[in-house]
Symmetry: C2
DNA sequence: TGCCTATGGTTGACGCAACAACTAAATGGA
DNA sequence: TCCATTTAGTTGTTGCGTCAACCATAGGCA
């Protein structure tokens, strides 16, 4: 009788140990999540606000920062590559949701700011988005599971990006900036 | 002093409650994961085996099943839409990694099987892929966290797809089939 | 039998992302 | 000062995914 039960436990050269049943279950569950959740986010935002989830994240970060941000900083904050961000920001600029400003301190650099229109779109898009996030994620989990999820996701992203090149910058760079920008307008 | 700390706690119409700090942390961590993990999987597989992660999943499911599978069944098993799968299977067919067979019982339906070449590619691609999955996910987590992850991911996918239209079919459809197919060749 | 709807799947157009190649400006020596 | 290297960002190409439209068959049911 064969022991070959799950796809990822299938026979293969044994340089790397196969996944046991528990590991396999966790991985398959995660893979399903990786397929389903992003499309759900994109289609809700696209339908209701003509934004991709990534565009929404970019606008959110800009609003959070409250002042112009370097492209490279924004890329790190959204876990994206610079080419990707560049294309997205160009599109958002064409729609007049953001503005590009040449940096004065470094003439290679580009800073990005949210326009008023961008802010309006974002504010309008947010409730529906949060509703989905709640329905799909937050409300399906207990408080304990929320903490577990945070720890688990952090472990994985840390393994994928040990140098924190794509770290969310919420603490560190952006956060202190955001507070500064905010207090200066108070 | 403003309490506006995280993007998702930003002010907005209050029809839907904002995320508190714990919810926000979990969500941001998950979003980073959703950006980083898929690209890591795709780029490893692409580099080493000229496969996307989704193509790998399709081939895996076919190997697991051990016999021709309905397109629609395969779509559910891989959490994909039928158009997406159709395109992918056509590409895989062009590369002679899978074969399409007209079903005899239902003349609208298409069944898909792994070719020998497809099996070889898959076997060659698997160790490197598993190595990444281990390095990034499995080995970063404790046994307890693996169980937590399974439960959490299942809750979320269940909320996103309550009718289980995109359920992995590992138990139920495919599993029993796979066992049957396997015992018939013993 | 004939129709009507539902199901299974394919196709083409369009939009977004990855990758590589490129320009321009800054930095760090010799 | 001059050159080499690194950093910041943009652009073009190519490939994949989504969506809508479509065709063909199956399954009621009158």
């Amino acid at each position: 009788m064969s022991e070959q039960l799950f796809p990822y436990t299938a026979d293969m050269p044994r340089l790397v140990p196969r996944l046991d049943e528990q590991e396999s279950a966790a991985w398959l569950a995660l893979v399903s999540l990786l397929e389903l959740l992003p499309s759900a986010l994109d289609s809700q935002l696209q339908r209701d606000s003509e934004l991709t989830h990534f565009e929404f994240a970019v606008l959110s970060m800009l609003k959070f920062a409250g002042e112009p941000i370097r492209m490279s900083e924004l890329a790190a904050a959204t876990s994206a590559t610079l080419p990707r961000l560049s294309h997205v920001v160009s599109r958002l600029q064409r729609r007049e949701l953001v503005e590009k400003v040449a940096s004065e301190t470094d003439r290679r650099a580009t800073d990005v700011v949210l326009t008023d229109a961008g802010r309006r779109i974002l504010v309008r898009a947010t409730p529906g988005h949060i509703a989905l996030v709640r329905r799909a994620v937050i409300d399906s989990l207990s408080r304990e599971q929320l903490e577990q999820l945070t720890a688990i996701a952090d472990s994985i992203t840390n393994a994928l990006d040990p140098d924190r090149r794509f770290a969310a910058l919420v603490d560190g760079g952006l956060e202190t900036r955001a507070l500064r920008a905010r207090s200066s307008t108070t």
